[in-house]
């Protein structure tokens, strides 16, 4: 065996171990996060009722009431609005990019849509306060216009890059033969898109939508600026309410560390984490279903 061989093998082994340790480290990090945030959050239940936290909408820590239902509903509501508005638009963009756009348009538009992701949340929030809230005030006829609709609209724009790029990838990774087979049967382009391509790419598109929802439900700064931050059930889509994230930032800085109130905020963060995890499991089921087919 030539002399240098031992070094080559050594490098091969070492590098492999390094890669494995990196992978393990990544897992440890998420476990740590779950552990720390979870422990901190769950300790609120030493003084607060678990049932109330999930079923009551009365959030009034001064008087010992810790009902987080409003925030959960707010988070889910804004996310749904965002996905209802941004999902179809983003999907249209993805289909456009994958199937319709001339190459030169695609070449410009694809990286350009990524720029949406580079605009800081604060800027989205600012456009929200100055433009969107006025619009929602008018259409919901409410006093301020702050609320779920405004937040949903802002989020709809913020999730566009996620929806567009992941859905386009899913459409693009379809075998070319699907499209050819359909067109060769005399289908129009739209029939091909609607009946073959989108259904075939649906696991990928579903993944895109779920990840976009994860992004929307976790967004903080922009939502906090337009949601109105009132800890109560909204009367309409245009009246102030709160989401998990907005309430965390609103109150985190002004509650004593270790107090039940503060722990309650960590519990909300933990809840967010759990929701995110559930979404990931949904994504995996979606893509596994795709793989079986």
């Amino acid at each position: 065996m030539p002399h240098h061989k031992s070094k080559v093998y050594y490098n091969d082994r070492i590098s492999k171990y390094l890669f494995i340790s990196s992978a393990v480290l990544v897992s440890l990090i998420i476990l740590c996060i779950i552990w720390f945030v979870g422990m901190q959050g769950l300790s609120m239940f030493k003084e607060a009722s678990v049932l109330d936290f999930f079923t009551s909408s009365k959030w009034s820590p001064d008087s010992g009431q810790y009902g987080a239902l409003t925030f959960v509903v707010g988070s889910i509501g804004t996310t749904l609005i965002a996905i209802l508005l941004g999902g179809p638009l983003g999907l249209a963009g993805a289909v456009f990019l994958a199937e319709i756009a001339p190459p030169w348009i695609r070449k410009i538009m694809r990286p350009a849509t990524d720029l949406f992701a580079g605009i800081p949340s604060v800027v989205y929030g600012y456009v929200g306060i100055t433009v969107v809230v006025g619009f929602t005030r008018d259409i919901t006829k409410s006093a301020t216009g702050y609320g779920m609709l405004a937040a949903g609209i802002v989020l709809a724009v913020m999730i566009l890059p996620t929806v567009i790029s992941l859905s386009e990838d899913a459409l693009r990774s379809l075998p070319k033969t699907y499209k050819e087979a359909s067109l060769a049967l005399g289908a129009t382009r739209w029939q091909t898109i609607r009946r073959v391509l989108v259904p075939a790419a649906s696991p990928g598109i579903l993944t895109a939508l779920i990840l976009a929802m994860a992004r929307a439900i976790g967004e903080t700064m922009a939502v906090q600026m337009v949601i109105g931050n009132s800890p109560r059930f909204p009367d309409s889509l245009g009246s102030p309410t709160s989401t998990l994230t907005s309430n965390i930032v609103m109150e985190m800085g002004n509650t004593p560390y270790g107090s039940t109130w503060n722990n309650g905020l960590f519990m909300m963060a933990f809840l967010l984490l759990i929701i995110a995890l559930i979404m990931i499991i949904l994504v995996r089921t979606a893509s596994r279903k795709g793989a079986v087919r």
Partner: protein, 250 residues
Amino acid sequence: MDKIVVNNLDLFYGEQQALNNISLTMKEKSVTALIGPSGCGKSTFLRTLNRMQDLTPGVKIIGQVKIDGQDIYDADTDVVLLRKKVGMVFQHPNPFPKSVFENVAYGPRIHGETDKRKLSEIVESSLKDAALWNEVKDRLHESALGLSGGQQQRLCIARLLAVGPEILLMDEPTSALDPISTMKIEELIAELKDKYTIIIVTHNMHQASRVSDRTAFFLSGDLIEEDVTSILFTRPAKKKTEDYISGRFG
């Protein structure tokens, strides 16, 4: 009767010429085989006949392709109708990721058939025509991707027959299949030729001689020779054809 008439067809991929001045006539209700070594332009030629080539960016086509006397490259040709009439089977079976039934019903559906009973009838008769009915009748609603390669290819043929084409283009339809499946498809072609005009690309000369009435030999974008199959394989007019069929290259 002449079904397809090709006159002086040139095709360019960008700068590169892939077909040189091809002229060829194909008769109704007959099987024409296209043979030639890899890269000679067989697939390219086939895809000009239903304008699938339009999908390739940067393709330029000069010349005339007449089907039933009508130039399909005329500005007012309805490509969708053309493709309905000129169906295509691909080298690799490409069923949609849907059920067997939905695969076959796809064509009729997009062409406006909504009646359930009618659809069922079409699906059944198409599958029967494609000699697949007996094998799949109990699993019509399972995914087509669970079928074997040979079954998938026949499913693709059934899917095609369901839209009622007049011409079938087949690009090496058996090259990815096992011997038994190949045999079945060859038998199928023999049956179908009573109703359809068939053009088949194959790299298997035995197959060409088994299934076709006439054979055309392509080489580097040129049509070298076209003749009745038995003549072309036994007494080719050109030296190049002879070299190829005797296995001296390719």
